[in-house]
């Protein structure tokens, strides 16, 4: 029988498939951060259970960590401080590898893990974080879980899981200039909706996906969850293999060739059947900007905001009206007439070296507009260091950007970086929900280059005809 990549990974990880209950799936790698793990460790302690395979876990601190260097020494938030301390002692007590705030490897979990080659093609990977889908870029089945499941995996190395349906999203042809991985995934979500992928694992394929770097593929898979999917997957290829070669946790010596052979067997078989197929032409994708409070409320930058009263679907019209109200925007306004107060580049979606190169490229020799606060937050210390070696930090600070320490920062505003009520932000993060970046804050999701241009112009601009 011809199998999809998802089915191959599923079948190879099935520990038990009981007649009348949920299948048990083996979990190869478990990623951890400070927000969704403390109650899981508490549960283990109460039940007197231990961590089955500590080597399968890699942990970091990212959600609550300050991005100002001084605040990392004296944490200003006592509750965040406690969460960080609890994380450190939980990892120490259970022999878990932790990249704490002082580690040169510290950063956002979904940035750090690939930097060390901890996830390989064909693995099942879980983390108490919905953006675990990122690691699908390597051809691993990676998905977010709740804290009860974090506890369950620590105790059993497995998860109870129903099999998902499969969706193929094929992006044919090549991207036009100034259009990036972020624009691909926002365009896909615009097409299928935030619940379009519910119950599915999405495999992204097609020429435009193949032509993306590993960083770009991570950006696409990262936001599979914003399309409602459990996970995103991209078949491993030479780029995947080259990326992993020599990394700390990559297979070594004689095992390398064996591993590569295995990875090369994982792609969906020619003619394998998917439950749903969606096709986009890359040439039709323009730079994207979200305008509302759900990632599906997205437009090409050269379009105008929708007019709810003319929308056919009454539920969508109601949602659009309430989103425009929250966002403080008038129906029909041109996207390029919308000003910004704050610009944020970073997060597990767009906090990688390629993202800061793109940002520096548009910022070189320019100045951030008066009154705009522009914050660049590298996804990890290795990203920060690499950017500094390339002189990107200098280009950005000369242009008026703040160059910070790594962390999740203003993606979800748990660490002291947040929008004030009413502030409008061009953000490279993944969610534009009400209050996501701070109570009353207004988020527009964009690519790093689009964010950079918005910082300079003080409003959204169409990079394709921007000087």
């Amino acid at each position: 029988m011809k199998k999809t990549m998802y089915e191959k990974i599923w079948d190879s990880h099935l520990v038990h498939e009981p007649q009348a209950s949920t299948p048990i799936l083996y979990v190869d790698r478990h990623l951890m951060h400070e927000v969704t793990s403390p109650q899981a460790f508490e549960g283990l302690r109460i039940a007197n259970r231990s961590v089955r395979n500590p080597h399968s876990i890699l942990a970091t601190m990212d959600h609550c960590v300050p991005t100002k260097a001084a605040d990392r020494i004296n944490l200003p938030d006592p509750i965040g401080k406690k969460q960080i301390e609890v994380m450190a002692s939980n990892c120490e007590d259970n022999a878990i590898n932790l990249y704490d705030m002082k580690s040169p490897n510290n950063g956002v979990i979904h940035i750090v893990v690939p930097e060390h080659g901890f996830v390989h093609p064909g693995m099942v990977v879980c983390c108490g974080d919905s953006h675990t889908a990122t690691h699908g870029a390597f051809g691993a089945l990676a998905f977010g879980i709740g804290t009860s499941e974090v506890e369950h995996i620590m105790a059993t190395q497995t998860i109870q899981q129903q099999k998902s349906k499969t969706m193929l999203v094929e992006v044919t042809g090549s991207l036009k200039p100034f259009v990036t991985a972020k624009d691909i995934v926002l365009a896909i979500i615009g097409k299928i909706g935030t619940a379009g992928g519910t119950g599915h694992v999405i495999e992204f394929a097609g020429q435009a996906i193949r032509e993306l770097s590993m960083e770009g593929r991570m950006t696409v898979c990262n936001m599979a969850i914003e399309g409602g999917a459990r996970a995103g997957l991209i078949a491993p290829d030479q780029k995947t293999i080259d990326f992993l070669r020599g990394k700390e946790f990559a297979p070594k010596g004689e095992y390398w060739d064996q591993a590569v052979d295995y990875w090369n067997s994982l792609a969906s078989d020619e003619g394998a059947q998917f439950d749903t197929v969606v096709t986009l032409d890359a040439a039709d994708i323009a730079p994207q900007v979200t305008w509302g409070t759900s990632p599906e409320q997205v437009l090409a930058v050269n379009q105008s905001l929708p007019t709810p009263s003319t929308m056919e679907d009454s539920i969508k019209a109601l949602a659009a009206k309430s989103a425009l109200d929250y966002m403080g925007l008038e129906a029909g306004t041109k996207m390029t007439d919308v000003p910004v107060d704050v610009v944020f580049v970073g997060s597990c979606t767009n906090g990688r070296i390629e993202d800061f190169r793109a940002l520096a490229h548009v910022s070189k020799g320019k100045k951030v507009a008066n009154g705009v606060q522009a914050i660049a937050v590298p996804g990890s210390y290795p990203v920060k260091q690499m950017a500094e070696q390339e002189g990107l930090d200098k280009i950005l600070t000369d242009a008026g950007w703040e160059w910070r320490e790594p962390g999740c920062s203003m993606c979800l505003a748990m660490n002291g970086d947040y929008l004030k009520p009413g502030q409008r932000c061009a953000s490279t993060s993944n969610r534009n929900f009400e209050g996501r970046q701070g109570k009353g804050g207004r988020t527009h999701l964009v690519s790093p280059a689009m964010a950079g241009a918005a910082a300079i112009a003080g409003k959204f601009v169409d990079l394709r005809d921007w000087d």
């Binding site: 390989h120 935030t194 996501r436």
Partner: protein, 205 residues
Amino acid sequence: MQAYTKHSSIAAVMNRANVDTDQIIPKQFLKKVERTGFGAHLFHDWRFLEDGSDNPDFELNRPEFKGAKILIAGDNFGCGSSREHAPWSIADYGFNTIISTSYADIFFSNCFKNGMLPIRVDAPTLKALMDEVEASPGIEITIDLESQKITTPAGLSIDFEVDAFRKETLLQGLDDIAWTLTHEQKITDFETQNKKQLPWLWPSA
């Protein structure tokens, strides 16, 4: 975990679609290291005014919905993050049942793990339920998980689907980990095989 038994309870209506986890429990409340006490912060940004008093315009603050155990909500409930703080806060507030047309996958699965029953109904049924509650707010609806039936005072009788295993664990209040560990030998066998096939994934390699 507490067993889920047949009950008749007040149903509250939230006629909004895509209620996301950032609204259910805003991130400033995610820093606790215990599982309890999140109900006080449920829907914080909608529920309270700037001065901390109750927002009278928010659905759950309606006096008729006080003590509700059943939440009837719009499409795609619980979308967004994987934070289990979302179902913890809903359960801690006092709900044990949610009725909607659809849920985000992770949220749906998290509900069962916290003794809550998320029920899927079709759009006309959801509308009928919302209409009945809106016509006489404060009415009690009966949820019978054993026979998979919702009944209302006006005479609606709605059958719903639920995964057989999840139904059983809810009815008995079973611990997932204990159940999985009854298959521990199979896990060990899997690992023995895995060490042979993919030895580089194991520490000794």
